[in-house]
């Protein structure tokens, strides 16, 4: 007996799916939306080193800035922290530019980058404050991480690091517990949906070992007691221009565009010892989704899932008919509602001060009558 309703249900689902691609059942919509619950994407890209010989760290961050912008995250949702000014460094043979490759094909500095924290503003305190959003009330909005529980955040750190620390500005360091606690604060304050944490320093994997908040996917470039290496130097600039880990990351990401369905596991497959000359690590135990089903654009792009509803699109129809399809009365003006001392009045859009509706024929008739009146006046105004 139960078979028949079930069959009917399945048949109706099938017909809905096959018949009209625009019609989406509620279940379908739910599955689409529940796949990744994020509605917006943020990126926090931090470079922590000073001095000319750390050119490659700035180039790392700017390359990822470019990638993330290219895949759609707007500047308003990217926090770019550059600890030193490499482009305008006195030792830069190509002033105003930052390259990440010897062929100097791409100027990462360009003329439309927005740096949110520059120079000495890139400190451990500011980084933690940024993550936890604990600022003075007059801290500008553009420098805050204004995420909510539907935000996927991509956090990228690069610089010089070591066993459970990352050096900031050659003067201080942030510890792995600090970042872990900051993430827990973010979790408690519902400031992220999922975090993708990527770190390219020496002994990077140690930095993510202390995380204990859910929904964090972490990638590091090298193990404990291992260094991460730079990829190559540019002879004209004189220093290394990119790190290996970031180089191969970019190599993969350059083939990804906004509508790509590439998954994270393909990115992780690129991280082999032969490529990066170190053992990169991936931490997935806190991340509940299967990495092979996570899209790259879930973190690095800004793609929203849109479910198209079947709604009447004709604006004129909508303006003149209500939800049930009945014709609305013209020139409806709603009354003034008074709530104690506050008077709220909703005036209809077209208050045209017209007494009645006149058809064009009537108007033309009135015009002709006026013409007759004036002619009559003219003819009778005969003076001797």
């Amino acid at each position: 007996m139960l078979v028949i309703p079930v069959v009917i249900y399945i048949l109706s689902l099938l017909t809905a799916i096959i018949a009209d691609p625009n019609v989406v059942t509620t279940d379908e919509a739910e599955t689409i939306i529940s796949e990744s619950r994020h509605t917006n994407n943020w990126a926090v890209l931090v470079s922590t080193s000073r001095f000319w010989f750390n050119y490659r760290h700035m180039a790392n961050v700017l390359s990822l800035y470019r990638t993330v912008k290219r895949l759609g995250i707007p500047d308003s949702q990217i926090i770019l922290m550059l600890s030193d000014d490499i482009a305008c460094n006195a030792r830069n043979a190509f002033p105003g530019t930052v390259f990440n490759n010897m062929d100097q094909a791409l100027d990462l500095y360009g003329d439309s980058i927005e740096v949110d924290y520059r120079g000495y503003e890139v400190t451990v305190e500011n980084f933690i404050r940024l993550l936890t959003d604990r600022w003075d009330p007059d801290h500008p909005r553009s420098k805050r991480l204004l995420t909510d529980e539907n935000s996927n955040i991509f956090i990228y750190l690069t610089g010089h690091g070591g066993n459970e620390f990352l050096k900031f500005q050659d003067a201080e360091e942030i510890g792995s517990y600090d970042i872990a606690d900051a993430f827990e604060q973010m979790h408690e304050k519902k400031r992220y949906n999922e975090i993708f944490f990527m770190i390219d320093t020496c002994q990077a994997n140690t930095m993510y070992e202390r995380f204990y908040s859910p929904n964090i996917l972490a990638v590091g470039s090298s193990r404990l007691d291992e260094s991460s290496y730079s990829h190559h130097s540019d002879m004209d600039i004189g220093v290394a221009v990119i790190d290996r880990f970031t180089y191969y990351t970019l190599d993969f990401l350059e083939k990804v565009d906004k509508d790509s369905k590439q998954t994270m596991d393909k990115l992780f497959d690129v991280y082999t010892y032969q490529n990066v000359h170190s053992n990169p690590g991936i931490r997935t135990d806190l991340f509940k989704r299967d990495v092979s089903k996570v899209l790259i654009t879930d973190f690095l792009g800004n793609v929203q899932n849109v479910v198209v509803d079947d709604v009447e699109k004709d604006i004129l129809y909508n303006a003149n008919h209500d939800e049930k399809g009945e014709v609305l009365a013209q020139n409806e003006s709603k009354p003034i509602v008074s709530y104690s001392t506050i008077q709220i009045s909703f005036d209809s859009e077209d208050d045209s001060h017209v007494l009645t509706e006149l058809s064009p024929e009537f108007q033309r008739l009135a015009g002709l009558l006026t013409l007759l009146f004036v002619l009559a006046l003219w003819l009778t105004a005969k003076q001797a």
Binding site: D350, S352, H353, V354, L355, T356, E357, L358, S359, P360, Q363, R364, A366, G367, L368, L369, T370, L371, F373, V374, L377, W378, A381, K382, Q383
Partner: protein, 429 residues
């Protein structure tokens, strides 16, 4: 065929054939803001036809500043004729209007010369008929205004008809009805009531003052009242008052044109806007009465004064202080000037100068507008400077004609003999 007929036919052909053969010239000329302004452009009229056809309130869009009766009556041509014919019908209407205005100008010229011959007791001959006709029909600014199908042509028609009824037909009432129609179409002829009534008083000797002034004024006001009420009946609202006249008086549409107002309102702080609106409107009205009184033909003294000149100079003053002037306004005034060939022009001193200034204005104005808007390497100051010079041309004309007239009055009053007239050096009259 007489020269006059040739001139009339040629003028009519120019106005009829060119837009029929090249219909796009109408829309090109309607977009040039020296020739047509938002208040009198043909494009807004066509927009109003569309609104009317689709039963939309004519004044909802803020585009249409034409009075409802004009829109409704002209839409008959637009709707009941198929498309190419309706454009030809409009060409025909505008051609006929211009030809009619020309014939009236000829009659005015004749009347003026007869009237002043009688007054000054010497034979005055002005220009020939065909010259007067060609000054109007072949005036390039008038041709441009006509080809752009600007609705100010209707205003010219009714002003001319008002003068016709007054001077040729000796009918003050009909003249006031025509002036009421002209005021209804565009606001500025209202200031011509005083000079025309003064002209009525001087030109029609038999009537007494009360009859002319009170009856004339009453008929003017009641014509306007009738037209407003009929417009209200046609559109079921008084919105047309704000759109048609409120725009002109309060300068609601601040768009660049040949006038003096727009720059002040774009560059001035908004705090001063009401002050400047008051000042500009005061300016429009304040000089009419002095001009009329100074040039009034008082009977008690010698035959000095020239009320017809007062009308023409008032018209040129109105064109100077209008909120939305066009080249057609000054051109209409200029085409009335040849009527004064015998009386005033012999004593005008620098016609050549303001003629050249006028030409310079006409060349530079579109160039500076192009530099400002299209190329972007000029700014509004360039264009406005030419507007100032355009206004200066009006003032030169008024000054020169006034001085010429007053010189002539001095000569007549003091009976300076023929030989001494050139040696006259007047400094204060």
């Amino acid at each position: 065929m007489s020269k006059l007929k040739q001139v009339l036919i040629l003028g009519g052909l120019v106005r009829f054939v060119i837009p029929t053969v090249l219909p796009q010239i109408v829309s090109i000329l309607s977009s040039i803001n020296e020739i047509s302004t938002p208040v009198n452009s043909f494009k807004s009229l066509q927009e109003a036809f569309y609104y009317l056809r689709h039963n939309i309130n004519l004044y909802d869009g803020g585009v249409n500043h034409n009075p409802p009766l004009l829109v409704v009556l002209l839409s008959l041509f637009d709707d009941f004729l198929p498309q190419p014919l309706s454009a030809i019908a409009f060409n025909l209407i505008y051609t006929l209007i211009d030809l009619y205005i020309t014939t009236i100008l000829l009659k005015l010229n004749k009347w003026y010369n007869e009237h002043n011959s009688k007054r000054l007791k010497k034979e005055l001959t002005g220009f020939n008929d065909d010259l007067i006709a060609s000054f109007y029909l072949f005036n390039p600014l008038i041709i441009l205004t006509n080809l752009s199908h600007s609705t100010s042509v209707f205003t010219f028609l009714f002003i001319t008809e008002s003068l016709n009824q007054l001077l040729i037909r000796k009918n003050v009432w009909r003249s006031m009805i025509a002036l009421g129609l002209a005021t209804y179409l565009s606001f500025s002829p209202v200031f011509l009531v005083f000079p025309i009534l003064a002209l009525a008083k001087t030109a029609l000797f038999k009537k007494d003052a009360k009859e002319i002034y009170f009856e004339g004024g009453a008929i003017f006001i009641s014509t306007l009242g009738l037209l407003f009420l009929c417009s209200f009946a046609t559109t079921a609202s008084f919105q047309f008052l704000d759109s048609c006249y409120g725009t002109i008086i309060m300068f609601n549409k601040i768009s660049p044109n040949l006038g003096l107002w727009w720059y002040i309102f774009t560059e001035m702080f908004q705090f001063f806007t009401p002050f400047y609106i008051g000042i500009f409107n005061l300016y429009s009205s304040i000089f009419i009465l002095p001009l009329t009184l100074r040039l009034y033909e008082f009977k008690t003294t010698a035959p000095v004064g020239d009320s017809f000149l007062a009308v023409v100079l008032s018209y040129i003053w109105i064109s100077f202080t209008k909120s939305y002037p066009t080249v057609g306004d000054l051109a209409f005034g200029l085409s009335l000037l040849p009527i004064f060939k015998a009386t005033v022009f012999p004593y005008c001193k620098f016609t050549f100068i303001y003629g050249l200034t006028l030409l310079v204005c006409l060349f530079l104005s579109p160039i500076f507008y192009y530099c400002w808007i299209v190329l972007g390497n000029g700014n509004s100051n360039f264009f406005y400077s030419i507007n100032l010079i355009w206004g200066a041309v009006h003032i030169f004309i008024i000054m020169d004609l006034l001085w010429g007239k007053l010189t002539y009055d001095y000569i007549v009053e003091n009976k300076i003999p023929e030989g001494d007239r050139e040696k006259l050096r007047l400094t204060q009259i």
